[in-house]
Subunit: 128 residues, 2 copies
């Protein structure tokens, strides 16, 4: 398993926690000692583990929150940090996301997430 | 000047290059040896310096591209990488942006930019 594989596994753990609405798993994905920030679609940026996890508590508790699947993920490594770009497939839209991971106590943990709308669905793009 | 000040100065250099449509300055802002990626609002992610700079060439050459000003910037440092969150003030909208910088040959250079729409203008938020 390469370091890039480990980063992509951490990225998948984030989307699994999201899809299964598992707050404990979500809390474990995020860094606990390094500073974290998060920009949900349309939101202002949130700074700090408490504010970020509270936002996920609200999202995961909301029965109207959409299901999400992660596609087209690519990881770029910069030593002890890594940036993963991916697409988030929702029932009615596709978002494009940036997830930044950092090594904390030997594990890749999430320190930043930003997602925003993609103007065109990948399936539509493939037809053009 | 602290390291955080240096990161914020690099962030402002990015927005100055954007606002003045200065492609040479924009090319100097982005890392030249480290891998780079960029997600413009609504676009798929672009990977690699050539694709990223070509997108900026197109944006800066387009007379319909909006002017942009950077507000509410905050830098978070992770050793030789830093994440800057900020708002981009456009004439008709406010975007929220993530800019990731890395130290390359002793300078902070941009390795990733993602911007997406903010659902509510900060001025409207302050009135609520």
């Amino acid at each position: 398993m390469t370091e890039k594989d480990r980063v992509l596994a951490a990225n998948l753990a984030f989307y699994k926690a999201f899809a299964t609405r598992d707050l404990d798993a979500m809390a474990a994905v995020w860094a606990s000692t390094l500073p974290v920030l998060c920009t949900h679609p349309g939101w202002m940026v949130l700074h700090g583990r408490e504010a970020v996890l509270q936002s996920w508590r609200d999202i995961l508790a909301n029965e109207d929150s959409p299901t999400v699947a992660c596609n087209a993920e690519e990881a770029v490594l910069y030593g002890h940090l890594a940036i993963v770009s991916c697409e988030e497939e929702l029932p009615e839209a596709v978002l494009v996301a940036t997830n930044v991971f950092a090594r904390e106590a030997g594990e890749w943990r999430l320190v930043h997430h930003q997602a925003g709308p993609l103007a065109m669905r990948p399936s539509a793009r493939r037809l053009s």
